[in-house]
Point group: C2
Chain length 652, copies 2
Amino acid sequence: MTGADAEHTTATDLTDLLRDVLDGRWSATRDAVRAHIAADDVVPRSDLSIPEYRARMLEQMTAMVPLGFPADGFAASHGGTGDVGAAVTAIETLGYGDLSLMVKAGVQWGLFGGAIENLGTARHHERYVRGTIDLDVLGCFAMTETGHGSNVQALETTATYLPETGEFEITSPTASARKDYIGGAAQHARYAAVFAQLITAGPGEEQQGRGVHCFVVRIRDDDGNDLPGVTTSDCGRKGGLPGVDNGRIVFDHVRIPRDDLLNRYGDVAADGTYSSPIESVNRRFFTMLGTLIRGRVTVGAAAGAAGRLGLATAVKYALVRRQFSAPDSDDELVLLDYRTHQRRLLPLVARAYAFAVAQNEVVAELHELQSGDPSEADPDAVRKLEVKAAAIKAGHTALASQAVSQAREACGGAGYLDENRLSLLRGDIDVFTTFEGDNLILRQLVAKNLLTAYAADMSDLDAVGWIRFVASTVRDIALEKTAARQVVQTLLDDSDEDPEDSDLTHPGTQLRLLRNREDHLLRTAAARMQRASADDADAQEVFTETQDHLIKVGDAHIERIVLEIFVDVIGSVEDRAARTVLKRVRDLFVYSLLEEDLGWFLMHRHVSVERAKAIRRGVNDLCGTLRPHADALVDAFGVPDVALDVPMIRHG
Amino acid sequence: MTGADAEHTTATDLTDLLRDVLDGRWSATRDAVRAHIAADDVVPRSDLSIPEYRARMLEQMTAMVPLGFPADGFAASHGGTGDVGAAVTAIETLGYGDLSLMVKAGVQWGLFGGAIENLGTARHHERYVRGTIDLDVLGCFAMTETGHGSNVQALETTATYLPETGEFEITSPTASARKDYIGGAAQHARYAAVFAQLITAGPGEEQQGRGVHCFVVRIRDDDGNDLPGVTTSDCGRKGGLPGVDNGRIVFDHVRIPRDDLLNRYGDVAADGTYSSPIESVNRRFFTMLGTLIRGRVTVGAAAGAAGRLGLATAVKYALVRRQFSAPDSDDELVLLDYRTHQRRLLPLVARAYAFAVAQNEVVAELHELQSGDPSEADPDAVRKLEVKAAAIKAGHTALASQAVSQAREACGGAGYLDENRLSLLRGDIDVFTTFEGDNLILRQLVAKNLLTAYAADMSDLDAVGWIRFVASTVRDIALEKTAARQVVQTLLDDSDEDPEDSDLTHPGTQLRLLRNREDHLLRTAAARMQRASADDADAQEVFTETQDHLIKVGDAHIERIVLEIFVDVIGSVEDRAARTVLKRVRDLFVYSLLEEDLGWFLMHRHVSVERAKAIRRGVNDLCGTLRPHADALVDAFGVPDVALDVPMIRHG
């Protein structure tokens, strides 16, 4: 590959070509944010006190307003520009700068702004959108409670409607109802989008819970003092993200006007009558949550950027740092010349490529969905995008966390010094696997949706009810035989039915292996649940016994869809040299996935012993093949120079 | 197991019995340090500035002096008490408190003190030991240089003997010769044990390098100012260990008296004549390094304690935190009732047990070795202990890092708040895989020693020379057929030759599987090198191609010896209930190791497909079996209450 194919393409050309592939549709936004990162020196710091860091965040957010990104996430008719893809991409790109700023921006414009934009109606858009964009209205997103992280439906905060005054009364009835970990709640936020159980009664009705709804609640006055009935506190220092003022909020019978219910999917009339365009309480709840999908997409994307930053840092260092030179030799080896060092970093670089292009597709689909008229959206397509967003969020944040930890370790003692920033990045990225959906929960959510063929109405079932649902409804669950993408289907048709007989560097073989694994896991999971039900087994026990199987279904699905997207994107690359390099990147991505799960593939006879040995050798060989392109591969990430300007890279 | 066997043993009894197993020979020391951790509130803090934290460290070290631990590491004849095992165990136990203090104590009494004790002679013991113990002499250990982390033999700092004045001149000739990452060098240290290339000439000789030696150099005056010719600087903030003042030192022709060469293994006469009891430059070098083995043992042990602290924290939280309660049920499940949560934590708990007892054995062997007359020590035994110490350091620090990261993630958002300390522990433990020997280097060192049958004189070879050495000398390298431990040999004899035919819960089968893997890897590694040499292949390329194979040899060896020790220790437990629980812990340890490397075992036909499936199920089943004992298992770690007194455990 390094010979004839590449000879007409210089390294610079190659970098540019690869960068085009990674940058995708919103490349202009990426470039603008890259320039801004350099101009405003958006890099993580360890020399600031917490108050200084927090103040810096507000300044840096203010500096972003004139650039237009903050307006991109809101419809033109509400005072924005209506470019959702650009809004997400801008915040993603801050992952090359400082994740504290990324999270602050994400909370203000993505989560708080997204709640107003997507759950509110005209009166809220008029009242809050402009201020949210230009920071006159500083908001936070008060969903999580101390007692309820992943189980939003069980939130305890109540919003009781009082028809006599036309107000809601927001209250935290128990200690576990306290809003917790809320970014912005410790200091900056003046408003909160509060998720609470709505309780109301129409004339003649008994008071009754209507499920979780979202309310805009003013929590602080202009001077930053808690308003009466509101008690905020500070979560204190954390493992990272020092610029994010995470806090807690307790509500003690706080009254807000009826108008401040974000009433797009559920409304309360002056007399207390509840109404909603969606009849099922559960479907209503998941529709509301679904409109907030943007946060999950953004977190996955930004984690991806941070992972690429970590890998670029470690690869650049490994290209300058010399170690253990042969005593009688002049040509000292750099770290990246060692196979073990290549094995540490290059498979992760390959994964970073695959996930980056998969993430781009999710962003584009989100853009299409949220740019159109929401009432026209196909609920099935919405549901599928939610599952895909969950899948990519879980996969991309896990990859980022692993990449940054590995990068730190690969840089030895230098990697531990804050001046080289990997230690800061490691602290910052750590929580991405937890917030906006804990990865363990998301992987199960993905699997459950596959097993119920995205049935909308199973969302109200607990674990046991859900097992019974699967067991009773599913007869022969399996992956669709026809791939959604033409290119994938063609490649599958073009490859041998039995992957063992096909060339392992053929993308059709690769696709088939990952599809077969997912299909196998899906069918056996369904069968286990049916068997269990037939035997009248304890459903709770069945759930316990199959939970790790479910998670594996989720993982297999994530890796399969990422490969399909990557293959699709590579097929559209016109330059032959770039395409050739990308194919080897894809091979390394696939080989390293196979190697990681070789036990499964062998155990279920999807791979022979001979092929297994070839896979292990293949990872080594591909590391060697890609070694000469390592610099170009990470340059193509387009990390701003300022983010890589650290002492260990400057001085080797 | 939970029935008849355990019925006569209460949970408290069980905890005490298990704790006895883990505490081992220096249990009194452990208890004393536990009490001291509580008494002096030795826990990591995130509310202190760097200057405050550093000051706190000196205070806390001072408070430890009267307890006697600091004197334990020095011979009675030098002013200590000569209980090496107690010295190491005391510092290990600080891993339950604050790793910053552990590192500061380790540098002062272990590394600096160890250099004086083991490389010095009577004059140094008289001059420095007492002050090192009681902190009148604050020292640092100046080995690592900016350009040379793992390759100590290539250090550039020079110590040139000047016969005209009877002094050495210490100098950093290049930028890469700067001493770097040195704990204590930024602020507290007044003295440094400096490793430098000794250059001297006897009468009529040419000046010549004599290899790396160690010198005591005064670097600061009593007020903390750099002495003339010495320039110290601060490494600044790091990913953790905020109380450790890591710094850099540059020497510009600093003169020290001839007496300050630590001259046990190499001396310079007044006229410049060099002499040494060890002829070979390389053997001399490795003998000097070998006497410093205590630091490596201590770091592995303390990491183990920190890993246990992390696991105890996460298990305790998982026993109080309720999540996703079934809607119509009163009995909410705690996190640890979920199989996925058990799978996250319990296999790591099992590994923590196995490594803890293996670590105890290494400490005991170190104690025996360093308590005797060093000139009597069997060089072969010394070498084997060095390799074993390297193996356990690499394995134990890697386990600790993984355990703490997993613990953080298993505690979700709460785990990210510094008030719950897992985030601090995660930052502190991260560098343990790097310092006192980077794990990647240590795993190769283990493998190389196995391949050369611990040949002492291969240590001066570079990678290429080493490959040639193995290829030319080794005919049929293989694991010794007879186990060193009688109990292991008996179990092996008692099990079927073909592990596939034996019960997988039989320890003989388990031992055989891990022995067979190591043996297979060892033989194939040797064969690859011989083949390569026979073909006249490029030795550098052979090294590159086999490097990941070597690392796998190292890993297989580490896991095998840990299992052998664990089996040995379990065999000596008298209480039947405790022994039964420990056997299930051993099973989970083995099953999870096998599961992790299932690809290899299947690929090389050491495990059948049927057995592979049984292994996967077995991990699940064992998690279920041990779930009722989870609390007792972590209570037996004996983590002081103060270390577990964090908000998330107090409040759930």
